[in-house]
């Protein structure tokens, strides 16, 4: 237990120091996607629901944050909260439809509904369509911290991330998390014990959507943009890939996966052009065929094996 705390401490220290060494905007992007992937993992890893349209929450929240800050003049913190709530509300709508089916149907329905929202955003006047919602001011946090400064913004984003990460961690280890686990293990039995399974799944979905929304809103703040890309199904695929690569159902997997993919895309985009897609696809295939536990999962298994070997 103590060791775990020390581990978290070291990680936090590293993240606090990161912008001194790394390009802060890139690290912020990684944090946004890490948060997004963690939110996604709450569903796939701990509830067993594969939502293949999760980008819709990222995108929706991005627009809500962008619009409320730019047009209505919300302060950034309020914009973020409004966006997360909007994403959660959308999560409630999509979730209530999708949980009527399970398994891959669930995946297909979330994907299709997300695509519908994508078309909606494409045509809705407030999104700027293909141009996106540009030039969102970063504003002043609590009225006095100027977020236009990359470093100020970085620590704000880090704080948002740490809060959300803590919340996910807490959810997994809560009475609610315990029921989710039971549902994943044996749904029929959970029903027969009197649990209204649909409601639990829905709450998990709404939580995940809200947190994904938080990620999207934060991203809007970082890039001063809300774009259609964020709502596109490719982004949904990306978050699946991040989580899969990092390790589904592990606490840190999504973070590692997001960092890897974002860095990789950043590095590769200029070097191999359109082959980036091929490489992403290949990572998918390799992960599914040989590497299903993901980076963190495999390392964990290795660590256990070593302990076992010694003991």
């Amino acid at each position: 237990m103590n060791r775990q705390l020390i581990g978290y401490g070291i990680l936090l220290a590293l993240m606090l120091a990161a912008p001194a060494v790394l390009y802060p905007v890139l690290v912020m992007k990684i944090l946004c996607f890490a948060l997004f992937a963690c939110a996604f993992n709450l569903l796939i890893g701990f509830t067993g629901l594969l939502s293949f349209g999760h980008a819709v929450f990222l995108g929706t929240a991005g627009y809500v944050a962008g619009h409320s800050i730019k047009v209505w003049g919300f302060p950034p913190e309020l914009g973020l909260i409004a966006a997360a709530l909007a994403a959660a509300a959308l999560g409630w709508v999509i979730g209530s439809l999708a949980i009527r089916r399970s398994g891959i149907y669930f995946a297909m329905i979330t994907l299709a509904l997300a695509q519908m929202m994508y078309f909606f955003f494409l045509q809705a006047p407030f999104t700027g369509g293909e141009d996106g919602l540009q030039d969102v001011p970063r504003g002043k946090l609590l009225g006095f911290i100027d977020l236009a400064d990359d470093y100020n913004l970085y620590y704000f984003v880090l704080a948002v991330f740490v809060f959300a990460f803590w919340l996910i961690h807490r959810t997994i280890h809560s009475p609610f998390g315990q029921v989710l686990k039971a549902i994943r293990e044996n749904e029929a039995r959970a029903i027969s014990l009197g649990y209204d399974v649909a409601k639990y799944k829905l709450l998990a979905f709404v939580l995940s959507a809200g947190l994904a929304g938080l990620a999207g809103a934060t991203k809007t703040l970082v890039f001063r943009f809300a774009t259609l890309t964020d709502a596109h199904w490719h982004t949904s695929g990306e978050v699946v890939l991040m989580t899969l690569l990092g390790g589904m159902g592990t606490v840190f997997g999504p973070v590692v996966g997001a960092a890897t993919i974002v860095t990789l895309q950043n590095e590769l985009a200029d070097k191999v052009g359109s082959l980036v897609t091929v490489i992403m696809g290949a990572i998918f295939v390799v992960c599914v065929l040989a590497f299903r536990r993901g980076i963190v999962g495999e390392l964990g298994a290795l660590y256990k094996k070593m302990l076992g070997g010694k003991g």
Binding site: Y23, D131, Q134, A269
Partner: protein
């Protein structure tokens, strides 16, 4: 003349080609733009023998404004890039233009179409170099209407670029005594256009204007052929380039009319340069490629002339220069950032007329720069003093 005295950040000039390397517009700009920029650098080095280094970087913005602005930001912040060019896709261009202003560098945009770049979103650090929706709309809007084909129906890509192209063309049509019967909006990247074309057919308009681009244009034209629209109505692809014609082939596209900013087979100068380009790229240049070459060359000359890569000084010099090269004759950069040069109204040849591969156009008219682009009097750019 001031070779030794150059004061350059990082002791070199770094040029970034920010383009679509893999998406719908990658054939329009893409690798070809990188090639063109590199050619300009090589030619400049050979001609001017600068004492300073020139470096070229390029990146794929994937048609995502956020990717583009992020990349631009990163280039400016961490790589010391002095000038970005290409930047096709209006959304990306607008975003990059803002970052460029914030970081005080230069954007010579050769790829984007939206007139916003020189109107409400104009910037002292941005030059709109090759074409815009106004120029695209104006040529055919006028010429075709004047031919007596005076009733128009529009097939419009349902997003900002399409809307602005549609609006600009409608204005041109009306200004020349034509009338607009209607318009149908289609989603970007639609897979099937037949139903929209049926509506266009049912409208009985004489002209069907395609206010879309890339794959959408190609698809619309194919479907128009299949439904026999081409027999009874005139199809005008408002943003059509030689790349699209090449993809569709002459039998399908013959007789189409549109505005181009460049044609390789225009004169000896263009032919010479284009053949050289063809040798490297295996395709003839689009107006973007030629424009990118011209922009990079012009920029490098300006840096040499001013002896600095500091944006304000270079911009000032640029705006005072007259551009004379294979791409533009007497080109001028206006206060709002618009580079004004001649455009061409072209008509696609019949297959029988084409004497060699890529011999596709008959030049119907040269539209002088002063007519091709939006006059300053109409500009909504705050930089323009009225």
């Amino acid at each position: 003349a001031q070779k030794g005295a150059a004061k350059l950040s990082g002791d070199m000039v770094k040029i970034g080609v920010l383009t679509d390397m893999s998406g719908v517009y990658s054939d329009l700009g893409g690798q070809g733009s990188v090639t063109a920029a590199q050619m300009a650098i090589d030619d400049f080095k050979a001609q001017a023998k600068p004492s300073w280094k020139i470096e070229l970087v390029y990146a794929d913005h994937q048609n995502k404004a956020d990717v583009g602005s992020n990349k631009a930001r990163e280039w400016y912040d961490t790589q010391g890039v002095d000038m970005i060019t290409d930047a096709l896709n209006s959304a990306v261009a607008l975003a990059v233009s803002k970052v460029t202003l914030e970081k005080k560098r230069i954007l010579l945009d050769t790829g984007a179409a939206s007139t916003r770049l020189t109107n409400e979103d104009c910037s002292p650090n941005t030059v709109h170099y090759v074409y815009d929706t106004y120029a695209l709309a104006n040529g055919p809007g006028k010429a075709v209407t004047k031919q007596g084909k005076d009733s128009w129906y529009f097939l419009t890509a349902d997003y900002a670029f399409g809307h602005s192209l549609e609006k600009d063309t409608m204005d041109a049509v009306k200004a020349n005594g034509g009338k607009v019967i209607g318009a149908v909006r289609h989603p970007l990247n639609a897979s099937d256009f037949s139903s929209f074309l049926l509506q266009a057919q049912a409208s009985k308009a004489k002209v069907v204007g395609l206010a879309n681009a890339g794959g959408d244009t190609i698809n619309s034209i194919k479907a128009a052929n299949e439904f026999g629209l081409t027999k009874t109505q005139t199809i005008v692809g408002l943003l059509t380039t030689i790349i699209d014609i090449h993809a569709l082939g002459l039998p399908t596209t013959q007789g189409m009319m549109f505005t181009e900013g460049f044609y390789w087979n225009l004169n000896n100068e263009t032919r010479e340069w284009s053949r050289k380009f063809f040798g490297k790229h295996k395709k003839m240049p689009s107006m973007l490629h030629a424009g990118t070459y011209s922009a990079v060359m012009t920029y490098l000359k300006a840096v040499q002339a001013t002896g600095t890569d500091e944006a304000d000084a270079v911009m000032k010099h640029l705006k005072a220069t007259t551009i004379n090269d294979m791409f533009a004759k007497g080109g001028k950069i206006r206060e709002d950032g618009r580079m004004v040069h001649d455009m061409y109204l072209v008509e696609v040849k019949k297959p029988a007329e084409s004497k060699e591969p890529w011999d596709y156009y008959n030049i119907k008219a040269v539209i002088p720069g002063s007519e091709a682009f939006q006059p300053m009097s109409l500009s909504r750019c705050p930089l323009v003093k009225k």
